[in-house]
């Protein structure tokens, strides 16, 4: 072998090693392999078109692997085989039968188009390379996976055994014993393989083997290794548990015993975090689908969606070693399976159980998040109870309603039902056994990731490229479930914020350049400049949308809230949501959540009458609350409208007067009266209920909305209902500001706080008690604040008539700010200033067009 060929052969072997560790979740190495392949193949002497063809095919294979999930395993093995053939060619100095090339090319082509004989090519590789170093447990795992999806199991027996034996050669003692077990199971399964009746046991054999393999994985590398190959494990794992649980529960009986559970010592914190994010997403998906299901219980697709979510939670939990969670999810899954198969119908009890289950899962996630490695995982109080309910339904065929009733103490009910239990148990058993077999038909189990269904540009699943299109959308599916899934990437928020910041800086830096005098005198430069300005503007627009997320998730939460609150208050309420696709800054989503909760609580508790009085007054018995979101004039408006009794003007006024909040003789418009409800401590409720009445809620609403630089508005019509609209800016990142000048300094006033700017006339001015200056503005006297005096700025305009007055409206308190001039309006990126000492009357800063810092006035504290 020539030295050049020798080196090439070594390089190719190296590439194969890299490739062996590539998985759908970890494909960075493909790039490395690709680069090395290119290097190696450069100057590769060959005299046949076959070789060139194979090289280019191997390339295509790598590209395929890097870009797609489809047929990942088969393309990977075919590509490996192709590279191996090239290596053989190098090793044998080109003395290699042409057929080998043809076969490698063929396989590669086939695999990429999707119809390859994967298992064969895989094991061919095994045979041909004969190099045990190439064979890893990963290969075994992928082989098992491939067989798993193939119908004809028996013929793969030999290959499986071969890989097992090879693995055993290099395994250490403990792994070896596990592998030996696997081999024994394999051989035990062989005897029956001729008999078609025994096929099912083949399934069991495979499961048993994959279980052993998984154990080795867990033992060897801890969670990290698992993440690389989680597809295979997740699937096989899920199945094992179904089988295991089915047999366990059948012997165990109804009572679920709570046991102490500890988070595994060696759990990878990063992995746990990812796990939690994913599960929380799945829980949310399931929850919103559940609520939808309540209104359209026959929607198969919705059930499937919920089922998938629980299945994913189960799979990943089992993978993380969080047995209680996976068992719990499994029981819910069993219940859902019964619904899907029509064994039980999806009634309200069933909905209650599943929604409770979702709450428990949420708590469990919080628990996992706050519990350290090796510590005991605290199971939520309801865990055992609900687990028993679930087991009763799934194993004993007790109807969800009865199971829920009997729930607090499970034993007695079981005794009662003992006689006719035999039959039921058999049936229940059949069901839970049926579950694992149903799955592959119902949903694409072979897919690398069980994906979440809601499109959520802000928060995606960690492994991108979701293949939503494969799932059939049933005819009566709701519009929401039909929405297209966009492929998304999960990005660290800090990095995103940094990027958005930097784009903002770039825009400002650019405008500094653009304003330079030399540019205006050079037409050519000017033209180029305006071109880059355009691009920059687009860049800025795009970057600002990066952080925007639809309100959908928030609205879904409200859906659940209304359902629960309605039940508590014994009122039937329907929540209508529109415009949930309206987007809002991610940072604002959490903040508006609380005000919305308060407003909805209020609507249900105060606004909506009970069914009887509704019907008396000729309204439909079921009340409707509309939650709307839309864009209007650069703002996002969220409206909450109910069709309840409306607000009682007199009652509010009386209450306000009795509490001394307003003057008795003051005449107020309707709008002003309704706004009184936002005062702290104000409540017209006759009694404080569980829902509301303490008078805190509306104050919270007003304050959180004002913190967001938003506005609250109330309109109400007695007997017809109340509408509260929240006006919010799109994003917190950019505020509209008015640039004002005082002396030789400039400040920024948030535009949202400015009612009006005007020049005062002599006759409008007067002083009160010869101290405070006031100005008449639209028939109202408001105090004047001389900003230059307050800030000690020299050269400020002294005469009010020479300056401009800014009418600031803040929380119903108005005052006029005397400034020299209004320079203009500007969009600004608000920034905090880390001053070691608290700044007075300054809320932050922003970079102005000329690159200098402008200070943003705090309009709230100015008055004090």
């Amino acid at each position: 072998m020539s030295s050049e060929f020798k080196k090439k052969a070594e390089d190719l072997a190296g590439i194969m090693k890299i490739m062996a560790d590539v998985w759908p979740g970890d494909r960075e190495d493909i790039m490395v392999a690709g680069a090395r392949l290119e290097d190696t193949m450069e100057g590769f002497e060959h005299n046949s078109g076959q070789i060139a063809n194979l090289i280019s095919l191997a390339w295509k294979g790598l590209i395929h692997l890097y870009e797609k999930d489809d047929y990942f395993q088969s393309v990977k093995s075919a590509t490996l085989q192709g590279i191996n053939t090239l290596r053989e060619y190098a090793v044998r100095d080109g003395d290699i039968p042409v057929e080998l090339f043809e076969k490698a090319c063929d396989d590669l082509e086939k695999s990429m188009s999707g119809d390859s004989e994967t298992v064969e090519s895989m094991s061919d590789l095994v045979k041909e390379s004969g190099d045990s170093a190439q064979l890893s447990l990963d290969d075994l795992a992928s082989l098992i996976m491939e067989i798993d999806s193939t119908e004809d199991l028996a013929q793969h027996h030999d290959r499986l055994e071969k890989v097992l034996v090879t693995c055993m050669d290099k395994a250490d003692d403990c792994d070896k014993s596990l592998l030996e077990e696997a081999q024994n199971i394999l051989n035990a399964g062989r005897s029956g393989s001729e008999d078609p009746e025994e096929r099912i046991s083949w399934d069991e054999v495979l499961k048993a083997i994959s279980e052993r393999v998984e154990k080795i994985f867990m033992r060897q590398d801890g969670p990290e290794q698992g993440a690389d190959s989680d597809t295979g494990q997740e699937e096989s794992d899920g199945k094992q548990h179904e089988v295991a649980d089915a047999s366990a529960t059948s012997t165990q009986g109804a009572g679920y015993e709570e046991q102490d559970f500890h988070i595994p010592e060696d759990a990878d914190q990063e992995l746990i975090n990812e796990y939690i994010t994913e599960c929380v997403e799945q829980i949310e998906t399931a929850e919103s689908a559940l609520l939808e299901l309540e209104t359209s219980p026959d929607d198969k697709e919705l059930i499937n969606q919920i089922f998938r979510s629980f299945h994913t939670i189960k799979g990943t939990s089992a993978f993380m070693g969080l047995t209680p969670i996976s068992e719990f999810a499994h029981s819910v899954e069993t219940l859902l399976d019964m619904v899907r198969d029509g064994v039980i119908s999806f009634d309200s009890a069933c909905a209650d159980i599943t929604l409770d289950a979702i709450d428990i899962l949420k708590k469990l996630m919080e628990g996992v998040e706050s519990t350290g490695n090796g510590e005991r995982l605290k199971l939520p109080g309801d865990f055992g109870r609900l687990m028993n309910v679930l087991l009763k339904v799934s194993d004993f065929g007790i109807s969800p309603e009865n199971a829920l009733k009997e729930s607090p103490d499970g034993e007695s009910s079981v005794d009662k039902g003992e006689q006719d239990e035999g039959e039921l148990r058999e049936e229940a058993l059949k069901d839970s056994r049926a579950a694992p077999e149903n799955i592959p038909e119902e949903k694409p189990e072979v897919e690398p990731q069980v994906v979440s269904d809601t499109p959520d540009p802000g928060e995606s699943t960690p492994l991108s490229s979701q293949t939503q299109s494969r799932e059939p959308v049933s005819g009566n599916g709701s519009p929401a479930s039909k929405a297209e899934t966009e492929s998304t990437v999960r990005v660290n928020v800090n990095r995103l914020d940094r990027l958005i910041d930097m784009v903002g800086e770039l825009v400002i830096a650019h405008s500094v350049v653009a304003q330079d005098r030399t540019i205006n005198s050079e037409p050519e430069l000017n033209r180029k400049m305006s071109h880059s300005t355009k691009i920059l503007r687009e860049l800025q627009d795009t970057s600002l949308t990066l952080r925007m997320v639809p309100l959908k998730a928030t609205f879904n939460k409200m859906n659940r809230l209304v359902r629960d609150l309605g039940k508590k208050g014994a009122k039937t309420v329907r929540l209508e949501t529109t415009g949930e696709d309206t987007e809002i800054d991610r940072n604002m989503v959490d903040i508006i959540n609380e005000p919305l909760v308060h407003l909805l609580r209020n609507a249900i508790d105060h606004g909506i009458e009970d069914q009887e009085s509704r019907e008396k007054s000729g309204k439909p018995g079921i009340a409707t609350i509309s939650l709307r979101a839309f864009q209007a004039g650069g703002k996002v408006v969220i409206e909450i409208e109910d069709d309840g009794r409306g607000m009682d003007r007199t009652k509010i006024l009386d209450k306000a007067i009795s509490k001394g909040l307003i003057d008795k003789n003051k005449k107020l418009t309707d709008g002003e009266v309704y706004k009184l409800i936002f005062l702290p401590g104000f409540s017209t409720a006759d009694k404080v209920t569980d829902l509301s009445g303490r008078g805190v809620g509306m104050d919270v609403v007003r304050r959180s909305i004002e913190n967001l630089h938003g506005k609250v508005d109330v309109t109400s019509e007695p007997g017809k209902g109340t509408k509260i609209s929240l006006e919010l800016p799109f994003t917190l990142a950019i505020t509209d500001g008015m640039l004002i000048g005082i002396g030789n300094q400039r400040f920024i006033v948030p535009t949202i706080n400015i009612d009006m700017t005007f020049r005062a006339e002599e006759q409008d001015l007067f002083t009160v008690m010869s101290t405070g200056e006031h100005v008449m503005f639209r028939g109202q006297s408001i105090p004047v604040i001389r900003l230059h005096k307050m800030f000690g700025i020299e050269n400020g305009v002294e005469n009010i008539l020479d300056g401009t007055l800014l009418v600031i409206n803040n929380n119903k308190k108005k005052y006029a700010l005397l400034v020299d001039e209004v320079i203009g309006q500007q969009q600004l990126v608000g920034k905090s200033i880390d001053m070691p000492v608290k700044m007075k009357n300054i809320s932050g800063g922003a970079i102005l067009g000329d690159g200098r810092v402008g200070l943003i006035l705090d309009t709230v504290t100015l008055l004090n």
Binding site: D501, M502, G504, E505, I508, Q745, M790, F791, G792, I793, K831, S832, I833, D834, M835, P836, V837, K838, M839, K840, N841, I842, G845, I847, G851, R852, V853, G854, L855
Partner: protein, 171 residues
């Protein structure tokens, strides 16, 4: 837990300085030194926006590549006579934790190694400011460097601010 312990030591009353690399700069004829690890960068004078209701030694804030950073005039801070800015006047950006502060000095000098054995305690002159703001005195062969207690000088001013503000409100 660990963090708070570190914080405590950082805020400790007389923090013993260890040797290392220092950046030295001039205020008038005196040469001061600050630990180089705390120095983020040195920039020339740039437009500073004054901030109202601040102690006189806070010159204002500046835009450092999009971050807004407060700027302190060290002369004023030490109660020296103010002088006009020159070509050599520059701003040292000092970072401590999340806080950053630009420090206006007359001119930066050099980076020197000062060994722990060369650092002596600050002799008490009876004058308050010297005791308080210096962490030690570096005695090198050719010169004496006054080692700044950066944390105290630049980031701990609450007490004084309170005094100033109460004085103001009284007056």
């Amino acid at each position: 837990m660990k963090e708070t312990m570190d914080d405590q030591t950082a805020a400790g009353i007389s923090q013993k300085l260890e040797g290392g690399k220092f950046l030295t700069f001039f205020l008038g004829k005196e040469e001061y030194a600050i630990e180089i690890l705390k120095v983020q960068e040195i920039i020339g004078l740039m437009p500073i926006t004054p901030v109202p209701s601040m102690p006189p030694y806070i010159r204002g804030v500046l835009n450092l590549r999009g971050k807004i950073i407060p700027v302190m005039d060290l002369r004023t801070r030490f109660g020296f006579k103010a002088i006009d800015d020159t070509e050599e006047t520059c701003i040292i950006v000092v970072q401590e934790g999340q806080f950053r502060m630009g420090v206006v000095v007359d001119k930066v000098s050099e980076v020197v190694d000062i060994d722990g054995s060369q650092i002596e305690e600050v002799p008490s002159f009876g004058s308050k400011s010297t005791d308080e703001y210096l962490a030690g005195i570096g005695k090198l062969e050719e010169s004496v460097k006054l080692l700044l207690d950066a944390t105290k000088v630049l980031f701990e001013m609450h007490e004084q601010i309170k005094e100033i503000q109460s004085e103001k409100s009284e007056g």
